[in-house]
Symmetry: C2
Subunit: 490 residues, 2 copies
């Protein structure tokens, strides 16, 4: 029986190429049993005419389907569904029985609250003025070289080293680059046994909190601070002390005696961007040594340009191994990559490696190798330079617009990285402001999520310039100023 | 100052292309400050001569370095280190202070034992007769199409959807394929809200045990069974009952009253390959319903050819939602990919999704999209057919060799998937046998790791044929038989 072309349609919204769509269409129909072994396929001419595509597109799709064993080509008579084409076994599922359904509330032993609410809608790219944080800007990403590196990493030569299940090891090429190129920029020297790759910074923080904390222990976190960390501390059930941050970051005197773990973003505080001066760092390390607490340093956004000379990481001054260092590529490459790393003394890394093996074995091999190529061929540094230039320009435009429109920087002169931290007029809730601004296609990040939930503070907000083009900034800031005034008057 | 070519060397052991090596060499030297801004690079001719490579290779590397901002080209005078080349800030790390080092044993609140020992050496590819399990065979993998799919997934069109940090969602294309094509083969129908992507099966099992178990709960696992699961149960600290498996898999009557979670590999038992008959499945589900326990089904190796018609998953018969289904692509694509999935009722998946967001957000986006392409274009099914053919041939050769050499199959006639489960003569320790066989370049998997550690059993071993070519099998089996006799006599 010949297969009529009429049963086959292309999806106008598909993201695939026409050839891919045709291949998928035919493969699906064979797998699902709609096309049976021995049946004659429409001729390439008829099929092309029906689908309104070039005949060569259908031919190429058919060739691929022949290569994959779905079709056979018989001289002069055309293409047929192969007798040995892949097939799906079909089973009829029993009807569901909702009466008897499991009561999941009683069954789940360790319920997990959803992580802190996102401050951006998932369709943020459709907004005109997305002052949102931490997403990559496709205009700045070196697409072509990333693809080339991925292609290299997927080459036959690398295949064996990448596809193997290597519980213990990380990609030695990537570790070497980190140790020799990236960490030295932060003043850190580390042996390979002191570095562990993670699925982004969140994963690194999870390992650290999981290993170091328990309900009997006390953790200190910065207030305001990173909401993702607060989630982790709440989940582990430890006592959490919120230490108020000032113009110099976390004050050592705000750390109570008896602390077990102190979490800090010393070089570039989240979300205010202030930097901890060297005297404070020394005092922090001295107390850690004397009182035997561990410091988790989230060295966040260090690669991005700063107004001042870069400062080394806190870890660089750590002579006793009391600092656990967390780094990430989410901001400089893209967050969907999920790549970060831990640097810490070997006994800690050994434990974190075991924990990683339990929960997921290791991050995917070819993602590691792609990064290793991208970094070691110099593309990463080139990308940082490019991002730095663009971000500096955007920051200058933004600073001017902020001043002209009378908005208030909470930490003037200190902003670096990719965002500003602003204070709204007294009485204006930035949560309400953010919601109101969506009507104008403006996205801002209300500050509430960064504060101790027991002392809510809706007076601040963050404006990032990592995802917004320079020429949109002035109008966006103007809209924010107008909406702020509106709310202040109300 | 001109840079002398003499300071630059290629690494003969490097896995990179010559052009990549040259690029890396120059970028490294600039980043580390060895080459300074304004310095003249060696001419392409001189450099090529020194390195003994084609001049075009050096030219291409230089072009790339110009594009990345490391070099500038001046007409007629050659290439120079750019004034704006990326540079590394340099810090001098303080000397270490080992006297004062942190005592990690006292600091780590939740120590993690290393996961169960690996039964293969990391250089297993250098062994002549690798009867090891679970590694991918590069001879069977559809390399070229995987690379093409990766290239597509990294295309500009897909970039936005893949690079974004999307905590909640999985790649909708991949989820759709799983629901419409893969799960129906196991008789499972599921809504998108009932599926969650994980970092391999281990990660899926971790989510399930983490959510469902606690020190107060009781888990049942098969004996012998999967060592990775036993590790997870030990870590969560629940009471673990080991249920002896017979020729029909896990006997429902071996499940004690009061069990909270029962873990099973019903369709293809690990490591014996036996299949649970339908009557037992019904009884297992009936008891789960009546006694309110949850079943974790690790539907392991279902895609691989079996001697008999495929059976649907246990999950296919689940009418109350008491089965949590775990699947993986590690065996059919490659383990380094780290991709698996959970299928379970929505309340459970919601919790698992929250937990996933805490520990790592989500699996990398472009790995998901690459898989989505590979699967939906029909390459995956074609690959299964190819693997099925090769594995069937290898199994036939192996079965014959096993019989001819007088080795004993522990589950005769039942083996499928990618391995056989064998019994050694009484008194022969397969742990010792495995060690002895390494001298002959033979790798086997001693069975000890699969058994309840409190009742050690060294009488069994697993021989897999997923990584060994057909023509090596007979000699390998002969060597095993000879070493077995040797140990039996000793």
């Amino acid at each position: 029986m010949a297969i009529p072309t009429e049963t086959l349609f292309l999806d106008p919204d598909s993201e695939r190429t026409l050839q891919q769509q045709i291949q998928g269409l035919v493969a699906d129909s064979i797998l699902s049993g709609r096309f049976q072994a021995g049946e004659k396929m429409p001729s390439t001419r008829a099929f092309a005419k029906h689908l309104k595509v070039a005949r060569i597109t259908v031919s190429l799709a058919y060739n691929e389907l022949v290569a994959n064993g779905y079709l056979v080509s018989r001289d002069r008579s055309g293409y047929f569904v192969s007798d040995t084409a892949p097939r799906l076994p079909q089973f009829r599922p029993p009807p569901p029985d909702p009466e008897d359904a499991v009561d999941w509330d009683s069954v789940i032993a360790n319920p997990f609250a959803p992580p802190s609410e996102l401050v951006r809608p998932s369709d943020w790219r459709n907004y005109h003025f997305p002052f949102i944080y931490g997403q990559s800007d496709p205009r700045l990403f070196d697409h072509q070289n990333w693809r080339l590196c991925a292609l290299n990493a997927l080459g036959r030569k690398d295949f064996e080293s990448l596809t193997t299940d290597y519980y213990e090891r990380d990609d030695p090429v990537l570790i070497e680059y980190l140790r020799r190129q990236l960490l030295p920029r932060r003043g850190i020297s580390a042996r390979p046994e002191e570095v562990l790759l993670t699925m982004g910074a969140q994963n690194a923080l999870w390992f650290a909190t999981q290993l170091l904390l328990s309900p009997e222990k006390t953790a200190v976190m910065e207030n305001p601070g990173y909401a993702g960390l607060r989630d982790l501390l709440r989940q582990v059930g430890c006592r959490t002390v919120f230490a108020e941050v000032d113009q110099d970051g976390l004050p050592p005197e705000a750390i109570p005696h008896g602390a077990d773990v102190v979490c800090t973003t010393a070089s570039h505080h989240c979300p205010t961007s202030v930097t901890m001066p060297i005297a404070r760092r020394r005092e922090l390390l001295r107390r850690a040594r004397e009182e035997n607490f561990i410091i988790i340093e989230d060295d966040y956004e260090f690669e991005l340009p700063s107004l001042r000379a870069p400062t080394p990481a806190l870890k660089a001054q750590d002579r006793t191994g009391c600092v656990i260092y967390v780094g990430s590529f989410s901001k400089t490459l893209f967050p969907g990559l999920r790549m970060g790393y831990l640097v810490a003394p070997e006994p800690f890394i050994r434990q974190a490696r075991s924990l990683r093996a339990y929960i997921m074995r290791h991050p995917p091999g070819h993602v590691q190798r792609t990064m290793a190529y991208f970094l070691s061929l110099g593309h990463f540094d080139a990308q940082l330079t490019r991002m730095g230039d663009a971000f500096s320009r955007r920051r200058a435009v933004m600073e001017k617009a902020i001043e002209e429109n009378g908005l208030e920087l909470a930490t003037p002169g200190l902003s670096g990285g990719s965002s500003f931290w602003l204070r709204a007029p007294a009485g204006v809730s930035t949560t309400a402001l953010a919601l109101r601004l969506r009507e104008d296609s403006v996205l801002i990040e209300p500050g509430q999520a960064f504060f101790n939930p027991e002392e809510p503070n809706q007076n601040f907000y963050r404006l990032a310039y990592s995802s917004i083009a320079s020429n949109r900034i002035p109008q966006g800031i103007e809209l924010i100023a107008r909406a702020t005034e509106e709310l202040a008057r109300a």
